[in-house]
Structure formats: structure tokens, C-alpha cells
């Protein structure tokens, strides 16, 4: 089943075509990676999918609805969760509170329920804390509930940022460089986590620079260069694609 369908998507910043006529789809349950040199338009593409930018033209369909040009909070409510390149968590809050805030879109208690502390409000808060603890053990951060999020290691912060999105139960998870800025030794654990998330039934779309990682975990890969899609296919197909090699290594000079 097609979960996400992107058709002839364009984004222009003044004279620059950041994303140019990009078509692709994501199937339910797969792990799709988007790769490409710096400035290829990968993050812009994510920003278009999550409503941070409005496309200049083209369409985005998700799970049967047209979500072109929706607002970021609407994209999240449709079921698209995302993490950012620069690790984004609420650094001054506790780990548990981060995960409580992650569930905001499911919260129903209004002003009066909150102020009067009705039984429904207390029950909801309990449920939400419960769920936060569950996800904490899923990503392997049990025991850090009360730590201030900003004091965690970079690797744990990455885990937390994934958990914070995951706790809202998205259908599609967009991960923007989940291993960026993390020690080489710790990358393995994060890859395991990404796989585990996929196995739990969440479709994943990944932006990544570390080729070994991309090649090992992706079902399919899309390659962007200068905002255009230059290749698409399985890891092996992409690795042997002439265009891709040219984009990464430059052209072979003919003597």
C-alpha cells in the first residue's frame, strides 16, 4: 500500500530551485533513505512534507488525503512525525516531560478540566505518563526519567528526540540524520533502534550521509542532486548507478 505519494513537487527560493520536479512514493512498512550531496535539497524536501515550507507547485498525498500546503501541526496530526538535523528536544525539561509534551496532539483535557483537576484529567495524565515510560524503555532510556534532557549524552538525546516523536504514534517517521554528531562507536546502537522502530510497524524515511549505514538498512534509496531526483532503487542498484557516482565523486576525466 502506498502511504505517501509525492508528485512533481517544486520549491523555488527566488532564483534557486531547491526541489525540482521530484516524484516518489513510500510504501507502508518500508525504510526509504534519501541521500545526496550537501545542499541537494533533502532537508527542504522534509520541510515540504511536514508543512514547514509550502510547495511552489506539486502535490503531496498521505494515507489517502491531500496534505499539500498543510501546517506543521496538521502534518503531525495526519501521522507524519519528524526529527530534525540539529537534535531538537526541550533541553531544560526532564526526559519524562519531553515525552509527555510529545503526546500533546492526543491530549483532550481543556482549561476547566485542568484547573478543576477532574477525574478525567487525572486519568489522562496518568495514561500519558504511563505511555511515556513505555516508550522510554522501548528506546532504551529507562532510568533517565527525571534527568534534565539537556544533560544527556548526544546519543541519548538522539534517542530521546526519536522517542518524543514516536510516542505520538506516527504512521510515517521522517528522520533527518539520526546519527549526526554521534560517536562512531555509538552509531550501531542507533541503527539498531531505527530497525526496531521499523519492525514495530512504523514506516521510515531517512536522510543520512553515512553510506555504510544507508546501504545496510534501507529497503530503497532515492538520490537527490541540485534538487532533482537522479536515481531511485535498491541499495545495490543505486550504488552502481553512473549518475550517482558522478554526483558524489565527479566525472572521470578522459585523457
Amino acid at each position: 500500500m502506498t502511504l505517501l505519494e509525492v508528485s512533481s513537487l517544486n520549491k523555488r527560493f527566488g532564483g534557486l530551485m531547491a526541489v525540482s520536479d521530484v516524484n516518489f512514493s513510500i510504501q507502508s512498512g518500508e525504510l526509504l533513505s534519501i541521500i545526496g550531496p550537501n545542499g541537494a535539497g533533502k532537508t527542504t524536501l522534509f520541510n515540504l512534507l511536514t508543512g514547514i515550507y509550502r510547495p511552489t507547485s506539486g502535490g503531496i498525498h498521505f494515507n489517502g488525503s491531500d496534505i499539500t500546503g498543510c501546517k506543521p501541526y496538521q502534518a503531525a496530526r495526519y501521522g507524519i512525525g519528524r526529527t530534525f538535523q540539529r537534535t531538537t528536544i526541550f533541553r531544560k525539561e526532564t526526559v519524562l516531560d519531553n515525552l509527555v509534551i510529545g503526546q500533546s496532539l492526543h491530549m483532550k483535557t481543556g482549561v476547566w478540566g485542568s484547573v478543576l483537576k477532574t477525574s478525567a484529567a487525572r486519568w489522562e495524565e496518568q495514561q500519558i505518563r504511563e505511555k511515556a515510560r513505555e516508550i522510554l524503555s522501548f528506546v532504551g532510556l529507562t532510568g533517565s526519567e527525571d534527568k534534565t534532557a539537556g544533560n544527556l549524552t548526544e546519543e541519548a538525546q538522539k534517542r530521546l528526540s526519536i522517542a518524543m516523536v514516536l510516542v505520538a504514534k506516527p504512521k510515517l517517521l521522517l528522520l533527518d540524520e539520526p546519527t549526526g554528531g554521534v560517536n562512531l562507536e555509538e552509531i550501531g546502537g542507533l541503527i539498531e533502534l531505527v530497525k526496531k522502530v521499523q519492525e514495530s510497524g512504523v514506516t521510515i524515511c531517512l536522510i543520512e550521509h553515512k553510506m555504510r549505514m544507508v546501504m545496510s538498512i534501507s529497503d530503497r534509496i532515492i538520490v537527490l542532486n541540485y534538487g532533482k531526483k537522479i536515481a531511485e532503487g535498491t541499495p545495490n542498484e543505486v550504488a552502481s548507478n553512473g549518475e550517482v557516482i558522478k554526483a558524489y565523486l565527479g566525472e572521470r576525466r578522459v585523457a
Partner: protein, 333 residues
């Protein structure tokens, strides 16, 4: 779980008992100052909700205070519908203004929001002064009623003709306002306000309609400032355009920063300190602003988290007086 008998709770209970027991032995002058401290504290708490917790700096709260005071005064004086209906009308009207101003203003972020709210405050100040037929202009509006006597059992009535009774009335509202904000901010809904304060973009990407949350916070904040204004009008019996001057909003902001923004007790402490010090020193009125300014600058440079914020960072270091160390500036206590 927090300790039930934390040092902080005990000390606040002590302060509350003092606030109830001491005023009868104070003279009328000091009681009137305490009434003002209660009213400005309420306004300060309302500003804390939108600025301290939601992160949107409003310099327009003098306008909401004035709207509350004038709508209460006008409804009560011109329509003669009794204290409580007029009081309710004042809260609703101010909340409505907050909502309507919030829609365009909160679309702007950072400095632009601040400028719009400041512009709104100045505009309301001018309107109150210039619309003589409606507001009485510079002559002010007189004859604003005190609360209706509340009937108690055995035929006794609790009247509000004395200063002391008025003080207890205002104190009750201060406690209600503080309790309301405490519950709101420590709820799940409140956590999304605080999240917006930390990182609005991240919060929105998590599925929170940040615009509607900011609007909710701003509307509630405006309404609480309006209630403070209505209480002020009722206490003073006369209101003049002076209360609509935007410096009232900036004064209250100074109270908030000195007391500690995004803390529950900071607004009350800050208001008490900054109102009491000039009174004790008996300085001329225009010097008060100067003293406030100097104190504010000292705090911004040396203790930006305010008196309560400072306590919260120092206390745990003094041997863990408060159970466990709490995270972040956004302590809810």
C-alpha cells in the same frame, strides 16, 4: 511525588496566615497599600502566564487592566445592574478584547508581538482619555460601587464598606487567581504552554496548534488582568485615564522579573518588594519609577531569574533542603 511539607509550602502557609491575621492591626494607610499589592500581584500573575510560561512578552497589559476597570465601571454606573453582573461583564469584555487583539498580534513573533501589544496599550490609553462622552475623559469615572453585601447565615451580612473587608475580598481573588494559574500551568495543557516558550517550532512539529494555544493563554491572561482592573475600580470608586498609561504594564513587568518569571510565587514576591520599598522609603512618586528602574537593571544583570528563581538555584546547593533537584527554570511551585 513532591514532599507535602516542603519548606516552601510551609513558608507560604505562614505568609498566608500573616496576610489574614496582621492587617486588622495595621492602620488604614498600610491596608490600602496591601490592597494595591494584591491587585498588582494579580496583574503580575496574569502577565506571568503569557510571558513567563508561554514566552510571549506583552506590554499591553495596562490596556487590559484599563479595559477591565472601565468596562466594569461603565456597566455598573450606567446600566445599574449590580456588582456581580458588571464584574462578569468586565471579565468577558476584556477576554474578548484579548482574543481579538491576539489573533493578529500572536501571528507575529518576538519583537513584533511586543510592539503590537505596546501599540495597543498606547491606543487604549489615548481612547480612554479622548472619548470624553463615554469614559469621562480626564475627569475620570466616579461612583463605581463596592461589592454587594454577601448574606451570611443568621441574618448577618458581610459588607464591603470598610477598607479591611475590601482587603479580604481582594486577597480572596488573589488566592483564586494564583490557584487557577498554578493548576493550569502544572496541567498537561500548561506543559504545552511551557513547551511553546522553550521552542515554538518544535512544539508545532509535535502536532500542537501553537497559535490556538498562544491565543488561549493570551485570552486567559487578558481576562485575569481585566478582573484585576475591575477590582481596582471597585476599590478606588473612581478611575481616571492614568491607569490606562502603558507604564503600568511595564511596572508590572518589572515586578515579574524581580520576583522571578515562570515561577508561581515570583509575581507576588516581586510586587510586594517593588511596591513596599518605595512606600517604606517614602519617596516622591516620580522617584519610584527611577528606583524600580535601578532595581530592575540590577536584577537583569545579576539575578535574571529573579528572587524566587534565585532561591530555587541556591536552595538545592545548600544541602538539598528541597527533596530532589528540579529541572529547568520552569518550576511549578
Amino acid at each position: 511525588m513532591r514532599k507535602l511539607y516542603s519548606l516552601e509550602r510551609v513558608s507560604w502557609l505562614f505568609v498566608l496566615i500573616l496576610a489574614i491575621v496582621v492587617p486588622p492591626i495595621l492602620g488604614g494607610y498600610l491596608t490600602s497599600i496591601l490592597i494595591l499589592i494584591c491587585i498588582w500581584s494579580m496583574m503580575c500573575i496574569s502577565l506571568n502566564l503569557i510571558y513567563g510560561y508561554t514566552g510571549q512578552l506583552s506590554l499591553g497589559h495596562s490596556a487590559f487592566l484599563a479595559l477591565g476597570a472601565y468596562s466594569f465601571g461603565l456597566v455598573a454606573v450606567k446600566l445599574h445592574i449590580g456588582f456581580w453582573p458588571a464584574f462578569l461583564a468586565a471579565a468577558v469584555i476584556t477576554g474578548l478584547f484579548g482574543f481579538l487583539i491576539g489573533i493578529p498580534a500572536l501571528k507575529l513573533r518576538g519583537h513584533f508581538f511586543v510592539l503590537v501589544t505596546l501599540g495597543f496599550a498606547v491606543t487604549i490609553g489615548v481612547i480612554v482619555l479622548a472619548w470624553v462622552d463615554f469614559t469621562g475623559g480626564a475627569n475620570g469615572l466616579a461612583g463605581i460601587p463596592r461589592p454587594d453585601p454577601i448574606p451570611l447565615p443568621w441574618g448577618v451580612k458581610f459588607r464591603f464598606d470598610s477598607l479591611l473587608h475590601m482587603y479580604y475580598f481582594v486577597l480572596l481573588f488573589l488566592i483564586l487567581t494564583a490557584g487557577f494559574c498554578h493548576r493550569l500551568v502544572s496541567s498537561l495543557l500548561g506543559k504545552t504552554f511551557i513547551a511553546i516558550c522553550h521552542d515554538e517550532n518544535l512544539t508545532e512539529s509535535l502536532g500542537v496548534n501553537t497559535m490556538s494555544r498562544k491565543l488561549l493563554s493570551f485570552t486567559i491572561s487578558a481576562m485575569l488582568a481585566g478582573v484585576a482592573g475591575a477590582l481596582y475600580a471597585s476599590y478606588n470608586a473612581v478611575i481616571s485615564p492614568e491607569i490606562a498609561h502603558f507604564t503600568r504594564g511595564t511596572d508590572v513587568l518589572a515586578y515579574l522579573i524581580v520576583g522571578g518569571s515562570a515561577t508561581m510565587t515570583g509575581p507576588i514576591v516581586g510586587t510586594f518588594v517593588l511596591v513596599a520599598i518605595p512606600e517604606v522609603l517614602q519617596v516622591v512618586p516620580y522617584l519610584k519609577t527611577l528606583i524600580n528602574g535601578v532595581i530592575l537593571m540590577l536584577f537583569i544583570v545579576f539575578l535574571p531569574s529573579g528572587i524566587i528563581g534565585g532561591f530555587k538555584t541556591i536552595l538545592p546547593k545548600l544541602g538539598g533542603l528541597r527533596g530532589r533537584p528540579r529541572a529547568g527554570e520552569h518550576d511549578i511551585a
